[in-house]
């Protein structure tokens, strides 16, 4: 029997092979990468009984990405509603489904959220670079061809197990909610917050910020009333996930999975891991509110989130 594959009949604007991320190599200048909405990504894997950080596909926007099955295969979809269709029949996210031999799965356009995660039995097969399968275009690392490129027309996707470990149902109450017009992002204040004027600190948390067009896996720009730091630039230092840096124009940039490892703009703090997942699903124009939270509380919330999958 030949190997079961999904072949890419048409590549959309951006579909990336991702896993939990590339860790332990930040000191080499290598970025974290990994699924941006890790919560939806975990759900996709959970639906098939995979290890939660098994390698999957992050599909951004859709844009008529078309995948065709060579054999019957059970897959799982979670995250954004990209108006997916199987041979023209609508397929809602947050479910397991069988794609039959010869059937085509198409992702059209975002109806809610930006990023959908497609999980495969046992996880996708892809070359490992620096301990991860995550794909980072800017660093030319990872991906099917080890050049960091997103999926191309003609690519063949192969997975590790013939059958999934499980085919689970996701209770509706637990399904990852996609942000609507508004979204709240908990933020842990960093020590440099002390260098922002009191008025700027007030404004950081008491105005709606608009998600800008300039948003990608590296960073998301927010626009609103400018924040002013007394520090112009700082000596470059390591940047954590979710760091909210304030360049001289006063418009925040939230640094995401593909951020540069070190940088020299002052930071007001960092949004939490769950907030990063949520922000990665926000379309340009979405209003977001920053909300202060202590590091300890953020960790309690994070552990609570992880306990859902136990």
């Amino acid at each position: 029997m030949s190997t079961a594959t999904l072949s890419v009949k048409q590549a959309g604007p951006l579909a990336l092979i991702q896993d939990g991320g590339r860790f332990g190599v930040g000191h080499l200048g290598v970025t974290q990468s990994g699924a941006a909405d890790w919560i939806s990504f975990y759900w996709a894997n959970w639906l098939l009984g995979n290890a939660l950080d098994s390698t999957a596909l992050e599909i951004v926007l859709g844009g008529n990405l078309t995948l065709e099955a060579s054999h019957d295969v059970c897959l799982a979809l979670a995250g954004a509603d990209l108006d997916a269709r199987i041979n023209d029949h609508p397929l809602a996210p947050n479910t397991c489904f069988t794609l039959k031999a010869g059937q085509r799965l198409v992702f059209r356009q975002p109806r809610a959220g930006l990023r959908a995660y497609l999980a495969f039995p046992g996880g996708l097969k892809a070359p490992e670079v620096l301990g991860s399968h995550a794909c980072t275009a800017r660093e030319q690392l990872g991906g099917l061809h080890e050049d960091g490129k997103p999926l191309q027309t003609g690519d063949q996707l192969v997975w590790l197990s013939q059958k999934p470990q499980a085919t689970r149902q996701l209770p509706e109450a637990l399904a990852p909610a996609m942000p609507g017009q508004h979204c709240t992002l908990p933020l842990v204040l960093g020590s440099q917050a002390a260098h922002f004027a009191g008025r700027s600190l007030y404004q950081a948390f008491n105005q709606p910020w608009k998600v800008d067009q300039r948003a990608d896996r590296m960073g998301v720009r927010l626009t609103g009333q400018a924040l002013n730091s007394r520090l112009g630039g700082i000596i470059s230092e390591g940047i954590p996930l979710g760091a909210v840096q304030i360049p001289p124009d006063g418009q925040p940039i939230v640094l995401m999975n593909d951020r540069q490892t070190i940088g020299g703009y002052p930071r007001i703090g960092a949004i939490t891991r769950s907030a990063c997942a949520r922000l990665s699903q926000c379309l340009p124009g979405t209003e977001v509110w920053l909300q202060p939270v202590s590091a300890t509380q953020a960790q309690v919330d994070y552990r609570k989130q992880l306990a859902v999958w136990r």
Partner: protein, 234 residues
């Protein structure tokens, strides 16, 4: 030495050792890196040293905020400076030429010297590697002769070729792979920095020294160098 511990994120701390850039900082940053790695063990996710700080990203499933802070504080309690003369010295051959180093002339002019003098002076210092970052294998080095210090380009280039050697203010660096960038480019090396980084074995490590050596076009080509000119403007 009194390290300051600062909150960076829900699961990350910044350890601040200094407030200014100095080659002497590395004597403290390197042992701090070792001590923090040992103390955090399995609970360490990433540790990113830079000029004056170290970012500790820990696994908050294993360690709470207070525990992580205490662990870092204890690890750095009795920090002793390392002998940074132990860092490796790397000699990097560079083809300095206007075609691959469009800022040779403007930087020389700004410094009030000839291009030849600029090359000699860029090659006459053993630069300290302060930090790796920006791109895999990219090393921030310094300090460049004060007379040669040149601010970044007003408009960064969209495409700086792999191997490009540049300066910005009093720092110098090599671009490991094709990337956007705003540094003043003086020449190009054929040393495949990205390939080393991709294997997890970067050529440079913080605390190492780098000495540039001017080579001819023929030597650059023989080493496999790409002579495609760098675009003048972005």
């Amino acid at each position: 030495m009194k390290p300051r511990l600062e909150t960076a994120a829900m699961d990350a701390l910044t350890v601040r050792l200094f407030d200014t850039i100095d080659e002497g900082n590395m004597a403290w940053i390197i042992p701090a890196d070792t001590a923090l790695r040992q103390a955090f063990g399995d609970a360490l996710i990433d540790l990113i040293p830079s000029y004056t700080t170290l970012l500790v990203h820990y696994d908050c499933r294993q360690l709470g905020f207070a525990e992580a802070t205490a662990l870092a504080r204890n690890a750095l309690n009795d920090l002793q400076p390392a002998d940074i003369q132990n860092g490796q010295l790397h000699e990097i051959p560079v083809w300095y030429d206007a075609s691959v180093g469009p800022e040779l002339a403007p930087v020389a002019k700004r410094a009030g010297i000839s291009v030849e003098q600029l090359i000699t002076r860029h090659c006459s210092h053993d630069y300290c590697v302060f930090a790796l970052g920006f791109a895999p294998g990219y090393g921030f080095m310094g300090l460049v002769d004060e007379g040669l210090a040149t601010p970044r380009l007003k408009t960064p280039r969209q495409r700086v070729a792999a191997g490009s050697v540049g300066i910005a203010d009093r720092q110098t660096a090599i671009y490991p792979l094709l990337s956007p960038g705003g540094w003043n480019i003086l020449g190009r090396t054929a040393v495949p920095l990205f390939e080393y980084a991709k294997r997890g074995e970067p050529l440079f490590r913080p605390g190492d020294k780098v000495r540039f050596k001017a080579i001819s076009k023929a030597e650059f080509e023989a080493a496999g160098g790409d002579t495609t000119p760098l675009e003048e403007r972005s």
